[in-house]
């Protein structure tokens, strides 16, 4: 199985006034062609930074990066900025978390959707607008011709997210990064957007990286799952296997924190006690140890490496679930 995107040994640090902030630590990730991979973790676990860095969108003089990113057989990390830019749109594209802020407030929908087509594919203004209308229809925006002439603030959140998807798929990318595409939306709209993404992925034969903090979203929409914690990948497996046979206590805790429908009303919601470790001071042991209910002395003192089960299931734990018991 060939990888469309391969991330090797990625470290992303931010030089801040509080010291070096380690946002992404030694991440290896393979996105197989045609597959959908979920990246799960709580806020601040480095999911978004990892994706943006993988795509080459991370900018700023305070960013320190190392590692290698290979996309479609070419090493992105060795390319110039303009060469990386060539990959955007038709190679990789991204959907952002908040549709309220990710569309330019002062430009019409039509010009925003058609922009990529004109710049990347060299279409004429007229052709690009005609194609934009089709794209809006593809993401099931009613009355597409009229919507082209509107400004983002005249649309609802769900519609804006559809517009963003239309922009992302406009140049038929091979890989779509969806960075929490449904977090800012109502639950009912969430389901529609996920459904739309699933269908588009099949129709356009796209691979997808679906970033979310919701294991429930991952369950029906991905082939593989990478769980991130404190900037590291702590578990990686096929989605089915992960839910059937969790090895990492953090993943288990994430799953337990999803409320279920048969919970008694008034019952306390399950939470993961404590909080993410300070990103400027990662400590010696397992990053999750202070919050882990199975933690032992070894966990607090020695940093676990990724271990692999024979079936390819990766986890970063000294006492994985299933063995410890």
């Amino acid at each position: 199985m060939s990888s469309l995107l391969s991330v090797k040994g990625m470290n992303i640090n931010f030089d801040t006034s509080r010291g070096l902030l380690e946002a992404v630590r030694n991440v290896d990730l393979e996105i197989p062609a045609g597959m959908s991979v979920g990246v799960v973790g709580e806020s601040g676990s480095g999911k978004t930074v990892m994706c943006r860095a993988a795509m080459g969108l991370l900018q700023g003089s305070n960013v320190k990066r190392s590692g290698k990113v290979v996309f479609d057989g070419r090493e992105l990390t060795a390319m110039s900025k303009s060469e990386v830019r060539e990959q955007f749109g038709s190679g990789m594209a991204m959907i952002f978390q908040d549709p309220m802020t990710a569309l330019n407030p002062v430009r019409r929908i039509g010009s925003q959707v058609s922009e990529g087509l004109r710049v990347r594919l060299g279409m004429s203004k007229k052709d690009a607008l005609a194609r934009s209308k089709e794209l809006l229809e593809l993401v099931r925006i009613p009355n597409a011709a009229a919507v082209l002439k509107l400004f983002p603030f005249q649309l609802s959140g769900g519609m804006r997210q559809r517009v963003m998807i239309a922009i992302a798929i406009s140049c038929s990318p091979k890989l779509l990064f969806a960075d929490e595409p449904t977090t800012a939306l109502d639950v009912t709209v969430q389901a529609q957007i996920l459904q739309l993404l699933r269908e588009l992925r099949e129709d356009l034969k796209m691979s997808m990286v679906l970033v979310t903090h919701d294991l429930g979203v991952v369950a029906g929409n991905t082939d593989y799952v990478a769980v991130m914690y404190a900037g590291e990948v702590v578990e990686f497996a096929e989605t089915k296997k992960l839910f059937a046979d969790m090895r990492m206590p953090y993943t288990e805790a994430l799953l337990e924190s999803i409320p279920t429908i048969d919970q008694k009303s008034g019952a306390r919601l399950a939470v993961i006690a404590g909080r993410l470790p300070d990103p400027t001071d990662r400590g010696a042991g397992c990053s999750f140890a202070p919050r882990c209910k199975y933690a032992q002395d070894k966990c607090r003192n020695e940093h676990p490496e990724l271990k692999q089960d024979p079936d390819g299931h990766l986890y970063r734990c000294w006492f994985p679930i299933g063995e410890a018991k």
Partner: protein
């Protein structure tokens, strides 16, 4: 319908502002604790002064006086300037001074914006880097030198030592473009320095904020060049503060370039104000202030209009309001 009513409302508001300003000035003049007729006609006879009082409405009380002035002003009669040898029409003076000030203002604005916009965009793009630091240091220096000091330096070096440009006077455009501009260059530079600094800093701050927005990352993820992102995606939403500030300084430049107009003997509207105060030409002062207010209000209206063009969100908000 809502749009039309919005504009009607806006124009009505501005008319009220104009009435208040002119009434305020008129009232202030009446509060001067001396007899205005004596000031205007220091050497005339008491009979002549009585005639003047009746003519100008000094005998009618503050409101009556104001209404009479307003009635005349609206019909284009802005009153007279009183000399020992006779009178001159205020409107003649202003007709002469207004184009000078307007052109000076337009050139100053164009120069300031033409320098400030690229500088602001550049320093926001390179924030914290060398280009940004150099720009902000130079601008800080420039903005701390008062414009009359710049004017005097220009006169000494460019006007006197190098003798490249005339130091005093004005020539209308009809005398030829170079003839006209050689009188305008130094006043324009003196007036623009401070503005360039203000404009650049406003634009830089707004652009830095906008560059952090998601839609900029989104634009980058479409594969657009930095140049296109800066100009097409960041500049427009960041230019509202700049636009507002530019509009306000347009109004201020029309009557407020008193010192510069005096130094270079441009004799624009600012100089008329100076002349009116110095020579106690109160009718001239009152009418000139009214004309300045008129321009001020007009430019504000233009900005309101262009804000809606630059940022469609404000357009909608106004319609809803």
């Amino acid at each position: 319908m809502s749009k039309i009513s919005f504009w009607l409302q806006r124009v009505a508001q501005l008319l009220i502002v104009l009435l208040l300003v002119t009434f305020g000035v008129s009232l202030l003049l009446r509060l001067i604790p001396v007899d205005l007729a004596t000031i205007l006609l220091p050497v005339g006879s008491e009979i002549e002064r009585d005639l003047l009082r009746t003519e100008l409405g000094f005998d009618k009380g503050p409101i009556g006086y104001y209404l009479q002035w307003l009635g005349d002003f609206v019909q284009g009669d802005m009153g007279k300037i009183y000399f020992s040898g006779g009178t001159e029409e205020v409107s003649t003076h202003l007709r002469n001074a207004m184009p000078r000030s307007l052109l000076l203002m337009i050139y100053t604005q164009v120069t300031a914006l033409a320098i400030a916009i690229p500088l602001g965009v550049l320093s926001a793009y390179r924030v914290g880097r060398r280009a940004d630091k150099i720009t902000s240091n130079i601008l800080f220096t420039l903005s701390s030198i008062p414009n009359f000091a710049i004017a005097l330096l220009l006169i000494i070096f460019i006007g006197v030592k190098l003798a490249w440009l005339p130091t005093l006077g004005y020539a209308p455009l009809s005398d030829g473009i170079w003839e006209h501009f050689q009188y305008m260059i130094m006043p324009v530079i003196s007036l623009s320095c401070g503005l360039v600094s203000t404009y650049t800093r406003l634009l830089r701050a707004d652009m830095i904020a906008a560059l952090r927005e998601d839609y900029v990352t989104m634009a980058a993820s479409k594969g657009l060049s930095d140049r296109r992102i800066l100009w097409r995606h960041v500049f427009r939403p960041s230019s509202l503060t700049l636009l507002t500030s530019a509009a306000l300084s347009m109004g201020a430049l029309i009557g407020g370039a008193i010192v510069i107009e005096s130094i270079f003997a441009t004799y624009g509207v600012g100089f008329e104000v100076f002349f009116a105060i110095q020579g106690r030409q109160y009718v001239l002062l009152q009418s000139t202030v009214a004309v300045i207010a008129l321009f001020y209000v007009f430019f504000n209206l233009v900005v309101d209009l262009s804000c809606g063009f630059v940022d469609p969100r404000t357009r909608d908000r106004r319609v809803n309001a």
